[in-house]
Amino acid sequence: MATVAVPQLSGYHRPAVLDWIMTVDHKRLGILYLYFTLFFFAVGGILALLVRTQLAVADNSFVGNDAYNQIFTMHASAMLFLFIIPVWAGFGNYLVPLQIGAADMAFPRINALSFWMLPPAGILMFAGFIVDGGAADGGWTAYSPLAQQTGVGMDMWIIAVIVLGMSSTIGAANFLVTMFRMRAPGMTMFRMPIFCWTMLVTALLQLLATPVLAAALVMLFIDRNYGGQFFDPNGGGNVVLWQNVFWFYSHPAVYIMILPGMGIISEILPVFSRKPLFGYKAFVFATIGIGGLGFSVWAHHMFTTGSVLLPFFGFMTFMIGVPTGVKIFNWLGTLWGGSISFPTPMLFAIGFVSMFLIGGINGTYSAAVPVDFALHDTYFVVAHIHYVLFGGSVFAVFGGLYYWFPKIWGRQLNERLGKLHFALMFVGFNVAFFPMHMLGLDGMPRRIAVYADSAGWEALNMLSTGGAFLIAVSMIPFLIAVVMAFMRPKDQPDDPWEANTLEWATTSPPPDYNFDSLPPVRSERPLFDARHGDEEQGH
């Protein structure tokens, strides 16, 4: 009898790269999401520096008017669609299964599909720069009829955004099923970690809003390429219709971009105050409230079109201030009476609270309709966007990275470099964006490639550009800290921060299957309960 050589399974190793490409493990996909999105944060940042260089002085011709429109459009598109929206999917992928004590997401293969839709979309969008007519240049809002006029780069942008939207829609379904069906024994909905709650509401918003954007984009594509007349008044279409449909998605999208960040800092603040989140349920209801109200305020971006029911949308917009105010109380109340220490994640979390506070206050100016008539489409709004999305979301991204770095990569980021990173970024951020309030009040419109010397805007613009470069410099200590961390062995214990939630109940990094055993879940802080048992007071 002949013997057959059977391949030895244990001896076979897939190349590591293939391992990453084929993976359906939520942790690896989460890491891929993080790498991908941080790469586009850098790309978007470089485009921002080009914008700021062009605007640093009056009468500048560093980039031409055409190039400028492409650059700021792609800056926003990269930051929103390729960085901030998918970065939460990255944190969510890594953390949601761990935080609810599951072994993976509900649909691991679909999860891989959601991730792998991103790179082709990113490449397609940016390939616009090398085609005739250049990249999309109608702003990230792509208002029609202007969006009908530009070259094929616009079509590439439309397709890319549709694909990105599909990715986040199926990702959202996956998150929802995972959280509804796969929580550990004992973890009722109201014991779910607060970050999961914010991911849950975010996923609902994505599921309900993103298909609307896809529909609008398809109509725009048809208008551009096949003579459709959805948005063309000469054929019976309606120009403002685009804005209605676009903002019906894009206002909820603002919450898609910030809610998970609120979740992250609501994990960090309690840990380093050594107290539970103040008003957990109020926070959950406020999150749901923001999500719900978020669907009824879209036209506040359109007050100056003259075709908006002003009192209704003004009122609803002000109402969003209520759940937002509740959250500020949640965070203050968490700090109050605590025992607070200030490692880097905590600095970013407090940075978030203070900057988001400003972003909330300068937002009320636009809710007050008559004031918005003056400020709409000026640099005041650019200041507002960035206080929310940078001072808010990006600070939360870095807070989260410093906080979960030991869990994800098994090493600590250097504390001193972290603090330096925070200090530079905090100062740079305010120097870059605070002067924009004044520029806006002084009448500088957004999206202008040049301004005249006589406008008197140069000094503040120069200052703002300096701040932007300081932000860029702040990335140096961060990168050094990352490189230094990767040169060290994985030495982190399960729970280096004395944290509360289940991801800290397994090794750092966790094994493929996540948990050997789970502690009992009797509150929203199972690890705190395990550490302190009965001593807890004041429940």
Binding site: N65, P145, Q149, P276, V322, L335, Y365
Partner: protein, 283 residues
């Protein structure tokens, strides 16, 4: 305060100093950003701006000071666990109640201002038709609709049109075209039209902008109160040279306005169009 232990006194002092600093910073920036405005409507909007600003400053200083105070007062001093307070009860009612009161107050005040500035133009107000195009403006006046001094016999079809052309960004201010002439202290109604893409008619010193939308006619009215030249520009991205869509608003005394109308009419329409227009008797 004197009876307190030193550390407690220090804390209170530093929180007070922080609050004072925040208040100072905030007021300094607020007064540096006075929006101003030259029309009746703008002055009302300016008042509303200040109400929102003061409310915002109060919130900012209170929350900011509380944040700084908490960070100093409650910093970690040992391993002892602080009381594990979860919240609830009256505090949570206040958490909702305070923001509700603030936003309802601000909303009500905004709506009062809105109604105030939004009333339609008087029948006999001067009307100017504004057309935005890539990349300049056309201002069109009907001879039969020139406000207080209109010749009752003028033909509404007789129009004077001021059409701008694309101008480089380094054009000196006094050469920027087109110029929009308006008589001071009189209500003017703007009719906004576009046939290509969306533009936005934005005059910083009106504290107002309104979009020009293809397929739609928008209008608004203001009463300028201060003579002078005001630079203005398009505020809605409209393509390559959006940044160059500048123009000048020139608010002048009525007789100067009439003289300008007469001169333009003579140039554009010929002599017969202005037989008895009062400002143009001499011609």
């Amino acid at each position: 305060m004197l009876g307190m232990p030193l550390s407690r006194r220090l804390r209170l002092i530093s929180a007070t100093v922080a609050a004072a600093l925040l208040a100072l910073m905030a007021t300094a920036t607020a007064s540096a950003i006075q929006p101003g405005g030259i029309t009746d409507e703008a002055r009302k909007m300016n008042d509303l701006f200040w109400i929102v600003t003061i409310a915002g400053l109060v919130v900012f200083v209170l929350v900011g000071a509380a944040l700084v105070y908490a960070m100093i007062r409650y910093r970690r001093q040992g391993d002892e666990l602080p009381p594990q307070f979860h919240g609830g009860g009256k505090i949570e009612v206040a958490m909702v109640g305070v923001p509700v009161l603030i936003v309802i107050a601000l909303f009500t005040i905004s709506m009062i201002t809105l109604v105030d500035i939004d009333d339609p133009a008087e029948e006999d107000a001067l009307t100017v038709e504004i057309t935005g195009f890539q990349f300049s403006w056309q201002f069109s006046y009907s001879m039969a609709d020139l406000g207080t001094n209109t010749d009752p016999n003028a033909d509404p079809e007789d129009r004077i049109n001021i059409i701008g052309t694309l101008q480089p960004i380094d054009t000196p201010d006094d050469e920027i075209r087109p110029v929009l002439y308006l008589p001071v202290d009189e209500e003017v109604e703007f009719i906004l039209i576009s046939n290509d893409v969306i533009h936005s008619f934005y005059v910083k010193d009106f504290l107002y902008k309104l979009d020009l939308i293809p397929g739609r006619v928008n209008s608004f009215a203001v009463t300028p109160r201060v003579t002078g030249d005001y630079s203005a520009q398009c505020a809605e991205l409209c393509g390559t040279n959006h940044a160059l869509m500048r123009f000048i608003v020139r608010v002048v005394e009525r007789d100067e306005f009439d003289a300008w109308v007469a001169a333009e009419a003579a140039r554009q329409l010929g002599d017969d169009a202005l037989v008895s227009s009062p400002g143009t008797q001499g011609d």
